[in-house]
């Protein structure tokens, strides 16, 4: 793999081109299997070169002279199917066969800076840019065609890149571009294709990478095998803030295959010829080190009390001077507090990255969600220019937010620096992943509301206690966990607490008076973005509380919600769920219970409503989540099967968080070290899931990847209440908490 470490300026100098348009050089090194989406070969599709800024067509769409289309995106494939969705958009807008299209995603050497792939905004952001770039490219090419074929734009007929004018005169995209370079910016003036003419958007186009996965083709960063590659393991400290007192290197160095031990402060790594040799050395290192270990505080039994007492002065997010009056005047008034523990991302495959330093230049192959933020943070870590670092995004195991991906990348780079010329492949062990990833923060949500006799909500007062939901690396090396353990450590400044903590805390319901206060809390465990951020817990609380209010108002949960909504699309989603579940005809005689919940993610993204069905076994004092039915509306649906797949996954993942998960620790450190001490839902306990999509092709697409997390938690709580009469407000919802 040839990896030029060059910026655009040097590139332009060396090629003698002043500016480069979206026409490209012929395929120089096109391999026979270049249609193969295998990442190990994808680079052979189109010659590599840097992008020239977000407003150039060339940064998003590249056509070569041979009939290939390459889509570029700064967004990463995380298993959400973004590659297929973006190709669908490009193929439609260019009106070409989808088979012509390839995609390159997340490479500082090639793609535009799109920050992090997070917050379900890839389709809204990258999708829009690609659509506009493709439309602009097509528009420009049609103008060229009209000149060449000597007829007006209206007389042109376009089909799969072939353009026909009058008297059977023909040309094509590829012919028009031959040998010429055009510098074109995205003016935003090119007409966008009418959605009724879409061939691919809105259709369940299968993900080609799944074909590769079932054949066992290389796909993950874990599967990269580069020349000169050696294997590394990091011995992380036994607990947060632990300090290395002594290490007996000799014993480990003597092991077969060991090439070196790297110690910098309390950061310890070993490299070996073979992977298992590195693992064995890592085990030996554990016995050969002595640490000073601070204890963790507060302990779980004091955590929530500590949160309330030690939090900072509240941030007022929203305030209404009339709220107390409104609450006082409401005939129905309720107050409840909810809790959520620390949750883990728990990626199935431990984080892995490769790094190589050569001639003062660093290349990192990383499963990161953001190659550019990673690049700038690495530049801080090594105090070098950005142009000396190239970050190439390669799929990792599903991450669901900020997991160990960036940390492992930085660690691989640190080790590589000590062994220049070698490609370091670092993979975490299971316990590294479980213990060192930044968890989803524990939270308290305290809600109070007043409802009129007619069942209309009058006032809603929320208080939230939470640690940060985003400590992602954005240029400060202290955000890499191991940078804090170096001899000259980088300081970790948590920075402002993000809006993530109160995501979805403001109800979408039409409520005249709203208050929202946020108490930022510096918690005992490392925390950051986990799928949905604060929305998961906020919606759990809000939608559980809605059920309490409906119950107290003696109203059906659907009716109560619909009556308090003005948003037509929200109502439509609830109505659809009601009809799909046959809600009114549902029998409630036996041991079953049903609960519903709804949210519009971030109040700006996808609408999602869900019904959960649980079945109790009073004899055994247990219950089981048996079925979930979801309805999602995300505006224009690019790939219905993709949305369904992701929503089903989100529902099952959220059910797992909600039913059985909580990170455990004691004063000595982490107790959740593996899948036995931190179990997650497995097939035996997974409920049946059904997902229905409402497609609105005339509306812009909305982010859908995190929509299910919060509503599922509340629907389960509501179903458990329906079934057992116990209202569980502290996650996880376990059978022991039910009053049998």
């Amino acid at each position: 793999m040839h990896l030029p470490n060059t910026d655009r300026r040097t590139f332009l100098k060396t090629t003698g081109q002043f500016l480069i348009g979206f026409n490209l050089f012929p395929l120089l090194n096109c391999s026979p299997s270049e249609k193969d989406p295998n990442i190990l070969q994808a680079y052979s599709g189109i010659p590599e070169r840097p992008h020239g800024g977000r407003d150039l067509i060339d940064s998003w769409i590249r056509l070569d002279a041979e009939g290939h289309v390459t889509v570029l995106t700064g967004k990463k494939e995380l298993g959400q199917g973004i590659r297929t969705a973006l190709i669908q958009i490009a193929a439609d807008e260019l009106e070409v066969d989808i088979q012509r299209c390839h995609i390159i995603n997340g490479d500082t050497g090639q793609t535009a800076n799109e920050g992090y792939t997070s917050g379900s905004n890839s389709i809204e952001g990258s999708g829009k840019a690609i659509r506009e770039a493709a439309a602009e490219a097509k528009f420009f090419l049609l103008q060229l065609a009209s000149a060449k074929l000597e007829c007006s734009l209206e007389d042109l007929n376009l089909s799969d890149g072939t353009i026909e004018g009058l008297q059977n005169k023909k040309t094509s995209y590829w012919e028009l571009l031959d040998g010429q370079y055009y510098e074109k910016t995205i003016s935003g003036e090119a007409p966008i294709l009418d959605n009724k003419r879409h061939q691919y958007v809105g259709k369940p186009i299968p993900r080609a990478d799944i074909l590769e996965l079932v054949k066992g083709k290389a796909h993950f960063v874990h599967d990269l095998r580069l020349p000169d590659m050696v294997h590394a393991r990091v011995l992380h400290p036994p607990t947060y803030g632990a300090r290395l007192l002594s290490i007996d290197k000799a014993k480990v160095e003597a092991l077969p295959g060991v090439l070196g031990i790297f110690v910098d402060g309390s950061f310890i790594a070993v490299i070996a010829e073979r992977e298992f040799q590195a693992v064995k050395a890592w085990e030996k290192l554990k016995e050969s080190t002595v640490w000073e270990k601070p204890s963790i505080n507060p302990l779980p039994d004091r955590l929530f009390a500590d949160m309330r007492s030690k939090a900072q002065k509240p941030e007022i997010i929203q305030e209404n001077p009339n709220i107390s009056e409104k609450l006082n005047n409401s005939p129905i008034r309720l107050k409840s507090a909810f809790q959520r523990p620390y949750h883990m991302h728990g990626s199935a495959g431990p984080s892995c990255a490769l790094a190589k330093w050569e001639e003062e230049k660093l290349t990192v192959w990383s499963p990161t969600q953001g190659v550019y933020p990673l690049q700038s943070t690495l530049a801080d870590l090594f105090q070098v220019e950005l142009t000396n670092i190239r970050c190439i995004g390669v799929p990792g195991s599903g991450c669901y937010g900020h997991n160990g991906a960036d940390d492992v990348s930085a660690e691989a780079a640190l080790i590589a620096k000590a062994f220049p010329g070698k490609t370091i492949r670092l993979q975490w062990m299971r316990e590294d992943e479980h213990q060192w990833e930044p968890y989803g923060s524990a939270m308290i949500m305290e809600l109070e509301a007043g409802v009129s006799k007619e069942g209309m909500i009058q006032a809603w007062d929320s208080k939230i206690w939470s640690d940060s939901h985003s400590t992602r690396a954005r240029g400060d090396a202290g955000h890499f966990i191991s940078a804090r353990y170096l001899e000259n450590p980088f300081e970790f400044k948590k920075g402002g607490f993000s809006g993530g903590a109160y995501r979805n805390a403001i109800p979408l319901y039409d409520i005249p008076a709203l208050n929202l206060k946020l108490f930022n809390y510096d918690g005992p465990l490392r925390s950051s973005a986990l799928r949905g951020l604060g929305a998961y817990a906020n919606i759990f609380a809000l939608e559980s509380f809605m059920d309490e209010l409906a119950e107290t108002s003696d109203m059906d949960p659907f009716t109560f919600r619909i009556n308090n909504l003005k948003d037509e699309r929200a109502i439509a989603v609830l109505e659809e769920l009601k009809s799909k579940t046959n809600w009114n005809a549902m029998g409630r005689s036996g041991n079953e219970g049903y609960g519903i919940a709804f949210a519009k993610y971030k109040n700006t993204a996808a609408y999602f409503a869900v019904m959960a069905e649980v079945e109790k076994d009073p004899e055994r004092k247990s219950f089981k989540l048996t079925r979930m039915v979801g309805v999602i509306e995300a505006g224009q649906c690019i790939n219905p099967d993709g949305i369904i797949n992701q929503t089903e996954g989100g529902m099952i993942q959220s059910a797992s968080w909600t039913l059985i998960e909580a990170v455990k620790y004691d004063e000595h450190g982490f107790l959740s070290k593996d899948w036995n001490s931190y179990p997650i839902l497995r097939t035996n306990d997974v409920p049946e899931v059904e997902v229905y999509v409402i497609n609105r092709p005339e509306l812009p697409p909305l982010g859908a990847g995190e929509a299910a997390q919060g509503p599922v938690a509340a629907a389960i709580a509501n179903a458990v209440f329906d079934c057992t009469g116990t209202r569980i407000r502290e996650l996880p919802i376990t059978a022991e908490k039910i009053n049998w």
Binding site: G81, P206, I210, F220, A348, G649, T683
Partner: protein
């Protein structure tokens, strides 16, 4: 420490020079360049590393490679016959049973073991067979569906 070892992987016998104590997983990935079996936990808890050994799904992340001598090792790489996909591969693709796909290997191997002894498994049998494999993306319902589909689409598995 290294010793020559004869292993039969996906029908081909090859002699490798490795530490006989090295778990099979590393040998499969490094000496046979397989990608299917993966490291997930190294603790027999997640099933990422499963392969078929004489038809039975076996963990490979801890068991020394030497103990696999003389046995038939099969991975998902060996499933398709040229361009012709195995029915289970076909079913997984048709159902689009993957999100990130890290667990797909384990799910397929667990399913293969089940289907080898039972061409028409019941729902609960499918669930139990897949239960040993961790999937964090929540793709379970699709894996179950794919296995069902494989059983109904072909009787000669």
């Amino acid at each position: 420490m290294k010793k020559p070892l004869e292993l039969q992987v996906n029908g081909a016998v090859k002699t490798v020079e490795v530490d006989p104590e090295e778990p099979l997983l590393y040998v499969l990935r490094e000496e046979f360049s397989l990608n299917g079996p993966k490291f997930g936990c190294g603790l027999h808890q997640c099933g990422s590393c499963l392969v078929l050994v004489d038809g039975e799904a076996s963990y490979t992340c801890r068991i020394p490679c030497a103990s696999f001598e003389g046995k038939k090792i099969q991975s998902i790489e060996g499933l398709s016959n040229g361009d012709k996909l195995h029915v289970l591969q076909e079913a997984f693709f048709e159902v689009q049973a993957a999100q990130c796909g890290y667990c797909v290997n384990g799910m397929m191997i667990a399913a293969l073991e089940l289907l080898e002894g039972n061409s028409n498994p019941k729902m609960q049998e499918i669930k139990s067979a897949l239960n040993r494999v961790i999937c964090r993306c929540g793709t379970h319902s699709r894996f179950i569906k794919a296995v069902k589909k494989a059983t109904s689409s072909n009787s000669n598995l």
